[in-house]
Amino acid sequence: MFLADYIKDVYGAVKSLLTGMKLTGYYFTHHKEIITEEYPNNRATLKLADRFKGEVWMPHDENNEHACTGCSSCEIACPNGSIKIVSMNVINAEGKKKKAIDQHIYRLDMCTMCGLCVEACPTDAIHMRNTFELSVFDRNHLIMRLNKPGSKIREGVE
């Protein structure tokens, strides 16, 4: 029956459209469903995942000591050359010459946050930190020295 099919068509179409409108209407009347985060305003309550890979970071303890031996494992592991280790020779207590780290240079502008350097580090000296507001006006600020000036290697780390 042609007319019956026609009316059925129209009925089905209108019904399907109304179901869609019901859903958007539901969200229009239920403001609690809103998921927007007002970012710069919610800084105080914003909690980022601990493991979030924001930048590479070398933890220093209260004596300004770190665990980096300057072995260059991270430099080798890095796929795009964001890490450069500048080492120096120090004379230790026994009067022997020993290689130690002078500068751990980290280029944030080239880093892809793959985490391979952290994996490769034998002494657990570098970590990924979950800082994320990293933009600067001068790109030179993105080239960072990770070991703090005057810091030295922690006793007992080989």
């Binding site: 459209l17 409108m21 958007t24 969200y27 229009f28 927007t36 007002e38």
Partner: protein, 358 residues
């Protein structure tokens, strides 16, 4: 009680008391012109803000919320930005037509404002062919769109303009037929007569099922005529980037944008006038006490309330439905809306002859 009628009467009497009749009339013209432009600006800013807010809440987000309370000044700031922008004319464009098109579109939108009754006795010109005038003038806007599409010298614009031409011309049929089905009941094209005929109830309630069908068809046709989603084929962002106004920028684009919202307001106002009683408060037959209470709400609030509700419905469509394809759009008109509305007019005429309506 606040009423716009008192205001106009006061101005009219004051002017006539202080100036010769001709000058008074001229001053009134200027006042009306300025008021119309002011209304345009307010409507444009308000409706764009409303659209963004409605869209945001339906899409579970916040929408504009930085500038002023609830972001109410966001659209004003956008307008300032658009005015500051360079109005570029592409080198391959037909320069005269390209620059003329936005003005044609906005002037057409302005002309339709004439017969709309905003409140009790508050109307620019109560022309005796009111509704006919509206349908006649509103079909002119397609010329502006075609002009814009053709003169841009851009293939996307051309496609958009051609689509828009086919669309507006076809959908005017069913819009016209829905209007006729109400005219059958009122027996007059004059807006004030149409509103007055709804004193004891709006036509959507008095006209039984045919009036409801006519209402639904009119809303659909109005959405299509104003090039709104799901019928926004002339713009079709994902297909034609921006359709007929691809090449426009700055204030010239803003005029197209503004005219879209003005057109929505106007078709919704017409729809409210025809089906929901215009400025007429909600009256039920002979319940004098109830009707009297309803009369305490100013008529302008009734009118704007109804219109904004209808605008909301059209926005609701936009943020729910996917876009139609161009042949489906024409199918919908010629295979569904037109036959249904023709049958509906027949039914309505029968009803009017037999006096079945209230």
């Amino acid at each position: 009680m606040f009423s716009l009628e008192g205001l106009t009467n006061f101005i009219h009497e004051w002017l006539n008391g202080h100036l010769p009749a001709t000058f008074a009339l001229l001053v009134e013209f200027v006042i009306v012109g300025v008021a119309a432009i002011g209304l345009f600006a307010v409507l444009g800013l308000g409706l764009v803000w409303m659209e963004r807010k409605v869209a945001a809440v339906m899409q579970i987000r916040l929408g504009p919320n930085r500038l002023g309370p609830k972001g109410i000044f966001q659209t004003s700031a956008d307008t300032v930005k658009l005015i500051m922008k360079e109005a570029l004319t592409p080198s391959n464009a037909d320069k005269f037509l390209f620059n003329l098109a936005p003005f044609i579109v906005i002037i057409v939108a302005m002309l339709i404002l004439v017969p709309i009754a905003f409140a009790r006795n508050f109307q620019i010109w109560d022309i005796n062919i009111g509704v006919l005038y509206v349908t006649a003038v509103s079909s002119l806007s397609v010329i502006g769109i075609l002009m814009a599409g053709w003169s841009s010298g851009n293939k996307y614009s051309l496609l958009g303009a051609m689509r828009s031409g086919a669309q507006i011309v076809s959908y005017e049929l069913s819009a016209g037929l829905s209007i006729i089905s109400i005219i059958v009941l009122t027996g007059s094209l004059k807006i004030s007569d149409i509103v007055a005929s709804q004193e004891n109830g709006w036509w959507i309630f008095k006209g039984h099922i045919p009036a409801i069908i006519a209402f639904v068809i009119f809303i659909i046709a109005a959405t299509a005529e104003t090039n709104r989603a799901p019928f926004d084929l002339a713009e079709a962002e994902s297909e034609l980037t921006a359709g007929f106004h691809t090449e426009y920028g700055g204030m010239k684009f803003a005029l197209f944008f503004l005219s879209e919202y003005i057109n929505i307001f106007i078709v919704c106002a017409i729809c409210a006038t025809l089906f929901l009683g215009g400025w007429m408060p909600f009256h039920i037959g002979s319940w004098t006490a109830f009707n009297h209470i309803m009369d305490y709400i100013p008529s302008s609030i009734w009118f704007f309330g109804k219109t904004i509700f209808l605008i909301f419905v059209i926005m609701w469509f936009r943020w729910t439905f996917p876009r139609l394809r161009v042949d489906q759009l024409l199918n919908l008109e010629w295979k569904y809306l037109l036959p249904i509305s023709m049958f509906n007019v027949l039914l309505m005429t029968l009803m009017a002859i037999m006096g079945w309506h209230f």
